[in-house]
């Protein structure tokens, strides 16, 4: 083996190997994005300046980004639990929608003192989202329905149900069915004095994140979920209560998604619109996939996504760019990072193999001239010819 190869193996086996492909992936994604912008005759610098100006330059813009980020992070926390358990909870969009519907049902029709009002709304949001997810979990364990198909069906039902509510019972007088009336002030989540941010949502999200972090990093339940994610059948044979865990993981994820839905209607919109989730459930799925189900990465990746999404509207209005381009940019980013993550894993396997081979001296050890025969009476230097 040449010295150059040795050095290459040494370099590539350290952390550079872990980070380099990620950077290459991001660079390739950026190159693709630049190509698209060039095709649209837009200066990349102008896009960068605009994104910075509309997201991070002013405190109120920063608050907007955080407000967009919180429900995504909340959904990601729930998804971390289900993904770890090997449950692809595609039904999170429906859970967000049902959470929003649950919160709206209280906001529109129940009048209580402020604190009780807010508590009941959030309780209903969590309960509705949780129940919706639990249905999918029960169908998975009792009916043998894959959670992806069950989730798609439940998403569809939730969206149809909320449309029905907007068109018929909850439709405001003389309205087109696009949203309910604005909620009374008493029903809306309180905001911070300086920024338009909901402290309650911040507390909930922070609590959810710490809970998930502790659960997945050191708890018995976290270990059980991890085992189920790798092999559910084996986990069951080891005595893990797989059915209970599936229900519980789905329920908790549904509660978190429901609370995110509650935040959307009780704070950001102050009414229930059509398509209330706005795709943040699917965005959260992408975030968790991109973070490779690693809890510590999720806040950063989700914040980056929130940042880019928050810049969607200004891009359309100021640079005459289609707002869907932001979605395309994110898609390219996710695609490239996932591909290069696969490349990283392949490289890692190869380097490990080479390292081990080098350690065992497999390639350099001189071949012995004959085969060692210990017992065979009729052996003749390794030949079995007759």
């Amino acid at each position: 083996m040449t010295a150059f190869r040795k050095i290459l193996i040494q370099i590539s086996s350290n952390t550079v190997l872990g980070i380099l492909p990620l950077f290459v992936g991001i660079l390739v994604a950026l190159a693709a994005i630049l190509l698209i912008l060039n095709n649209e005759n837009v200066e990349p610098r102008a896009v960068y300046d605009l994104i910075y100006e509309r997201t991070l330059s002013l405190p109120e813009n920063r608050a907007n980004v955080v407000d967009f980020w919180l429900p995504i992070l909340l959904c990601c926390c729930g998804l971390l639990l289900t993904f770890t358990a090997g449950l692809w909870n595609i039904g999170i969009e429906g859970q967000i929608t049902m959470g929003a519907v649950g919160a709206t049902s209280i906001a529109l029709f129940v009048e209580l003192p402020r604190n009780e009002q807010i508590f009941t709304e959030l309780f209903m949001a969590g309960a509705a989202g949780g129940t919706w997810a639990l249905f999918t979990g029960i169908m998975r364990t009792r009916g043998g329905v894959n959670e992806i198909f069950g989730g798609v069906a439940m998403n569809f039902l939730a969206s149809s149900f909320s449309s029905y509510l907007l068109v018929a019972p909850w439709s405001p007088p003389n309205a087109t069915g696009s949203a309910t009336v604005r909620f009374p002030a008493n029903a809306i989540l309180p905001s911070m004095d300086d920024y338009r941010l909901s402290p309650i949502t911040i507390y909930i999200t922070l609590t959810a994140f710490i809970f998930v972090l502790l659960t997945l990093s050191g708890s018995r339940w976290g270990l059980q979920l991890r085992a189920m994610g790798k092999n559910e059948k084996s986990a069951q044979m080891l005595g893990v209560p797989t059915e209970r865990n599936i229900w519980l993981a789905m329920l908790i994820c549904g509660i978190m998604a429901g609370l995110a839905g509650g935040h959307l209607v009780l704070f950001r919109r102050a009414n229930l619109p059509a398509n209330v989730s706005g795709g943040i459930g699917f965005l959260s799925l992408l975030v968790v996939l991109l973070a490779s189900i690693r809890v510590r990465w999720v806040p950063f990746v989700s914040f980056a996504f929130a940042l880019l999404y928050s810049a969607g509207l200004p891009l359309r209005t100021r640079l005459q760019l289609d707002a869907s381009l932001i979605g395309i940019f994110l898609g390219i980013l996710v695609f490239c990072v996932l591909i290069f993550d696969g490349v990283r894993q392949r490289l890692k396997e190869r380097v490990e193999q080479r390292k081990l081979l080098a350690a065992s001296g497999g390639e350099k050890s001189p071949p012995p001239p004959t085969v060692e025969i210990q017992i065979g009476q009729e052996a003749s230097s390794g030949s079995g010819s007759n």
């Binding site: 009792r142 198909f149 790798k230 209560p241 085969v371 079995g384 007759n386």
Partner: protein
């Protein structure tokens, strides 16, 4: 035909699976490769059949160096391998499987292929229906299909990995005759990898012995079995027949149980298992032994709650989707119906399984553990009550690849605490490594251990206070020494009154270790009370349906 291997080496990290192996195989001869678990037999065969490449060395076929980088290359050079579990496609027909792997043609030319298949079967004395689904075949028939397929691809060097596992005595004798004919009449090289010395002595002309990756011995047959064992292990292995330890106290009573299996529904199984008793289940692959044990262990059967959920969900989904079908959009409706089918399909299957199960078992069906009906309870509940099950696929259904031994210990621990006491789990793992002679470290990932060590880990993870252990082929793929150790660990459990029910394709193992034998044949069961008076040939006849 001549196959030469020169200085074949293969390393996996520091482990040398093959260490400069050289040998010459001649046409017309049948060779056996013997060796304990981890000796490097499978690696050498995988190198020859193209599934792995050698780190160094050379393969020469008929004086021409051969570069073998894939199974495709190996077949092009005339080398084919028949696996213990044949590599076929269960949902396809025999003919479709036969056509698979042939050089690509746009049209499948079924008629030509069928005529070719039938002609080859006739020459070899096989009786395969080209239109039968492969999933309906026995393991023996699947092996026959694979042999015919490999021969049709021009294979001249045939490697067989444990081919007699899971086939009847009759099928084995037919297989051996075929292999002898191929070697003698067609001058082919046949290489057999097996743990079963009786098979090797019956079939082979030459024996090569591998130990720790090296070729350590070579002999022509016949020779004494003890010499072969000594060559394999470097020492003589003594086997002793276990003494019965059962009492008269029954712990499990099964009354009028019917179990649907792949080939038949086994009707009216009645069995009483006594404390400390070992019961062996004998039968052809797919005759219901595994399904019987899984039913007793509460695995894979729908319960009344499943049925209730399926009915409620079916009715609910049907009603809701009926309400929201939109007459204006055909495409949208199609999408909705597709979702409905995807959701309702599995539920209908659950319902069907439940109804089939109820239809097979009447009100008198009982499974009693220590006098209490455990009826249709699930596995976890039964594990708490003292019934454990170890499946044959250790990494598929038993251990979790990617987790360490310590992780497994923590998972198997019954504790109400929310956090894992890793120090205690580590200590328990260390203790298990010592007690069960596991070759591995506490933080080794489970899939890096050999099959025998994985089985030892599985046994170490079982709760101590079990009443009954059900095992599917407990020594699958293990050599004589490892198998003996697993059995000594299992038999030790009898001292606490634990009963053992196990299935095995190895009739000798069943006869050696069972206090009684339950034979599964053509949907019926027969209880053999005195295994010590039983011979493999007689047991083979019972399995084959001769009374």
């Amino acid at each position: 035909m001549r196959l030469e291997i020169h200085n074949i080496s293969k390393s996996f990290g520091p482990l040398k699976a093959n260490d400069h192996i050289s040998f010459t195989f001649e046409g017309g001869r049948i060779y056996a490769i013997l060796g304990e678990n981890g000796a490097g037999k499978s690696t050498l065969m995988k190198i020859l059949s193209g599934y792995q490449s050698a780190s160094s060395g050379q393969i020469i076929i008929d004086s021409n160096p051969a570069q073998i980088n894939s199974p495709h290359h190996a077949i092009a050079h005339g080398i084919g391998m028949l696996y213990q579990d044949p590599l076929d496609f269960a949902p396809l027909t025999v003919l479709e499987n036969y056509i698979e792997g042939k050089p690509f043609t746009f049209l499948m030319r079924r008629r030509e292929a069928e005529a070719d298949l039938l002609a080859r079967c006739k020459i070899l004395g096989f009786n395969l229906n080209p239109h039968a689904m492969v999933e309906s075949l026995t393991v023996g028939e699947r092996q026959q299909l694979e042999i015919v397929r490999l021969l049709s691809l021009g294979v001249r060097i045939l490697i067989l990995d444990e081919p007699t596992t899971g086939i009847s005595a009759e099928q084995k004798s037919q297989l051996f005759q075929t292999l002898k004919n191929l070697a003698r009449e067609q001058n082919m090289i046949v290489i057999l990898v097996s743990h079963k010395l009786a098979d090797v002595e019956e079939l082979c002309d030459e024996v090569l012995v591998l130990r720790r990756g090296k070729l350590v011995g070579y002999r022509s047959l016949p020779c004494e079995t003890d010499i072969l064992v000594e060559m394999m292990f470097g020492k003589r292995i003594s086997t002793t027949t276990p003494q019965p330890l059962y009492t008269d106290k029954p712990i499990l009573k099964i009354h009028k149980l019917s179990v649907p299996a792949r080939l038949f529904t086994i009707q009216n199984i009645n069995l009483e298992v006594r404390e400390g008793e070992v019961i062996g289940l004998a039968g052809l692959d797919g005759s219901g032994q595994v399904e019987f044990m899984r039913t007793v262990a509460g695995l894979g059967r729908p319960t009344w709650a499943d049925q209730l959920t399926a009915i409620v969900a079916l009715v609910g989904m049907w009603w809701v989707f009926g309400k929201i079908l939109d007459e204006s959009s055909a495409v949208l409706n199609l999408a909705r119906i597709a979702i409905l089918i995807l959701v309702l399909g599995p539920m209908l299957k659950t319902l069907y399984l439940y109804i089939r199960q109820r239809a097979n078992n009447d009100q008198n069906t009982q499974i009693m553990l220590n006098g209490k009906n455990i009826g249709w309870r699930g596995y976890r509940d039964l594990l708490e009550r003292g019934i454990a099950y170890l499946a044959a696929g250790r990494l598929e259904e038993g251990l979790v690849a990617g987790l360490t031994l310590v992780d497994h210990s923590a998972l198997a621990e019954r504790s109400s605490l929310p956090h894992v006491n890793w120090l205690r789990a580590w200590r328990r793992t260390k203790q298990a490594i010592t007690d069960f002679s596991i070759k591995g470290r506490p933080f080794s990932q489970i899939q890096t251990l050999s099959g025998g060590n994985q089985q030892r880990v599985s046994l170490s993870l079982l709760p101590t206070n079990l009443r009954l252990i059900l095992l599917e082929n407990p020594t699958r793929g293990l050599d004589v020494e490892s198998a003996g150790h697993i059995w000594s660990l299992l038999l030790n459990r009898r001292k606490q009154g634990t009963a053992i029910i196990f299935s095995s394709p190895d009739l000798d193992e069943i006869i050696d270790y069972s206090d009684r034998i339950l034979v599964f044949s053509s949907g019926q069961t027969t209880l053999v009370e005195n295994p010590e008076q039983m011979t493999t040939a007689r047991l083979g006849e019972l399995i084959g349906g001769k009374s």
